[in-house]
Symmetry: C2
Subunit: 411 residues, 2 copies
């Protein structure tokens, strides 16, 4: 076995995925392993013991993020990081986050087994609270790591029962002493299921993730005039709901006008006064739109505002769009992306470039570490769901690309 | 004063409207006089005393409907009825229903004052529970009168506190002994505010109501596929909300395709799972559509079903329309309508034919008594609202048309 024909052990990877899925496992085959709960403690204990057994050095930072390092020949080189998260949604699946950590473990076990040394050290990371399901917001530990979230503020976040993040960290014994962000990496690679349908639909095994979409969230209102459903002719109505409907279709049109990566979604809608025989005088709704390109996202903003203004004028209603959240797009590191692409090609795996529509720890680290991601398909694009599913073959393919990418980067 | 130049006393009518508006009067200038409450008892007591003082004979039927009769020269002729209701919505206005009863009172006072005899007797009716706001459904007493609602069933209706209709009737002392529907009329005329904007917009004083719209109520669902707002491309979505939006606009188009009297309204809408960053997999909504012509209403039904089917196919979602209520249109009596139109013309009042989009007691009596309605404008078409407003002049004009119509019919 040499560096060029080295592959991970797909049976061992799968067994590890299935074994740890028991920690917080649900009857429907998913995982309920909210961050900093007893279940999280158990999987962290398993992780700590396993990496020590693999001869790795474990460090824990003040946010509870775990770093398991395999030394390199050149200790002056910054480590190459692989990682994701072991926490899940309350009705989460077996792969979201978990695959990235356990495939990283499999990579290190494979290197150990083959006795291969790298120039740079390699560090496997388990980021704390990626999901944000118990303590909002998510990606908080990688956020503090990247300097985008204030650590003291993060410590004060509370769950629904009023428990503070810092206290929960203490309660499971995972508040480390290492200052967050002190440890810098030469690169960071995160393997993850796509959480979307593109790879599966196109029959591709590997997504080379070149960018993460920027997203804008808005709270919107249409103000029209409430009136009687039976006695108000269509041509004199100022129906807030019909204006909403026209605006919704306009938002659906604006997205693809800016390329296939633009998306726009209305997830929540309410008409008032919510009476069957009263024309709605007000509609409240949310709008979420995303694009991996900042200029295209700006064009979407203009297109949406123009549609709101034109529809509002034509229908004599007021369409108000209050933007409450704006996350700019980020481009992943070209060199790390190229390492992923080269690795997939060397392995003969079908692949395409793709953008991430969801948030990931890698999206945060990208601002301070050269970062990229590897996507593998998941069934029907379903995630954050106990029905989340990925094949053993695709998980192994992703882990092999991760192995080869890390070897390219670590030398 | 003769029959041909006789007019009502507009000051007296207005004073009576304002005086009785104190019974259940609200700080915002409306009336809260739910059926069979203490406030309803007080206005009924006032009505009973006032009609007796006017020399009228009062009868009360088993549904609590009050009939005040002025004798005619020919007791063999069936009485000509005028009437509406004195109950209101919880945040009702001063004119809805009340105008029809008090204008009828003013007509009888005017005939008394001028000493004019009619051939047929004239009966002023205060129908019980037109609004249906306390005991659903509304128009229940006129419904029993017309044989469309079962009297024993009506007696068992309960309000939110579990109080039965029959017990509430007993509690205020207005369960009469007269069998409901025994008293038959030669004609029935109801004066009412339009509760829509047409007369005001066209600058017309009198609406000659020739028909009442039939209405169909449906509970509808769109079933699509829930997926991630960030990672699901627009072209693979099965977004239940966007399909809803397209259907809503289609329903808005179907209505005017069937003439200016067709209306369609979506009053209630809910997207599921109601998460800002999840594409809705389901949308639930109501649909209310109406038309005064039965064939046109059928065409609307077909147009709506075709739109649902076409949009469902194109978007790979299922649009389900469950019709839960179907009230056929009714045409008012041609001869009574002609009497109204002739009266408005004789008085030199601007007028137009119009259809009623809301339900009224007259819509129910129309199936057993030759019936028509007179509309007068109300400000901005607003009704079922404390801001409901009609001018003294328009109320007087309506009452004068009522007077003249009744004289035409009663001879």
């Amino acid at each position: 076995v040499t560096r060029t024909n080295l592959t991970i052990d797909s049976d061992r990877l799968w067994a590890t995925l299935m074994e740890t899925a028991e920690i917080g496992g649900t009857p429907k085959g998913g995982i309920n392993r909210l961050t900093l709960t007893e279940e999280d403690r158990r999987v962290r204990d398993w992780f700590a013991q396993t990496v020590r057994e693999a001869g790795l050095e474990l460090g824990i930072d003040q946010m509870g993020t775990m770093y398991a390092t395999r030394p390199g020949r050149d200790p002056s080189r910054k480590p190459i990081a692989m990682g994701s998260h072991l926490d899940t949604q309350p009705t989460g699946g077996k792969f979201d986050g978990v695959l990235g950590v356990l495939a990283g473990l499999e990579v290190l076990r494979t290197l150990n087994g083959a006795g291969i040394e790298t120039e740079a050290p390699i560090t496997l990371v388990n980021w704390t609270n990626e999901e944000g399901a118990r303590f909002a917001p998510g990606m908080v530990a990688s956020g503090v790591y990247a300097g985008e979230v204030d650590q003291a503020w993060a410590m004060e976040r509370q769950d629904r029962d009023g428990v503070r993040f810092g206290d929960a960290l203490d309660a499971i014994g995972y508040r480390g002493t290492e200052p967050v962000g002190e440890r810098r990496f030469g690169a960071m690679v995160e393997l993850h299921i796509e959480q979307g349908p593109i790879l599966e639909l196109e029959g591709k095994t590997i997504g080379v993730v070149t960018a993460a979409k920027g997203s804008i969230w808005a709270d919107c209102r249409v103000l029209g005039r409430e009136s009687h459903a039976g006695s108000t002719p269509m041509n004199v109505r100022r129906d807030a709901l019909m204006a909403f409907a026209e605006f919704a279709l306009a938002s659906e049109t604006v997205a693809p006008q800016n390329g296939p990566d633009g998306v726009a979604t209305i997830g929540v809608v309410e008409a008032l006064p919510a009476s069957r025989n009263t024309i709605p005088g007000e509609v409240r709704f949310t709008l979420d739109y995303r694009h991996p390109d900042a200029e295209a996202l700006d064009r979407m903003t203009r297109g949406i505002d123009e549609a709101a203004s034109a529809i509002g004028s034509a229908r004599r209603v007021d369409i108000q769009i209050e933007r409450i959240w704006n996350k700019p797009p980020i481009a992943f590191d070209e060199q790390v992306c190229r390492a992923v692409e080269t690795s997939a090609a060397e392995l003969g795996l079908s692949h395409r470039t793709i953008t991430s529509g969801a948030g990931h720890d890698a999206v945060l680290t990208a601002s301070v570490v050269p970062t990229a991601m590897i996507f593998v398909p998941c069934k029907d694009g379903i995630s954050h769901n106990e029905a989340e599913s990925a094949t053993k073959e695709d998980c192994a393919a992703g882990a092999n690309v991760l192995l080869r990418t890390v070897l390219h980067l670590a030398g």
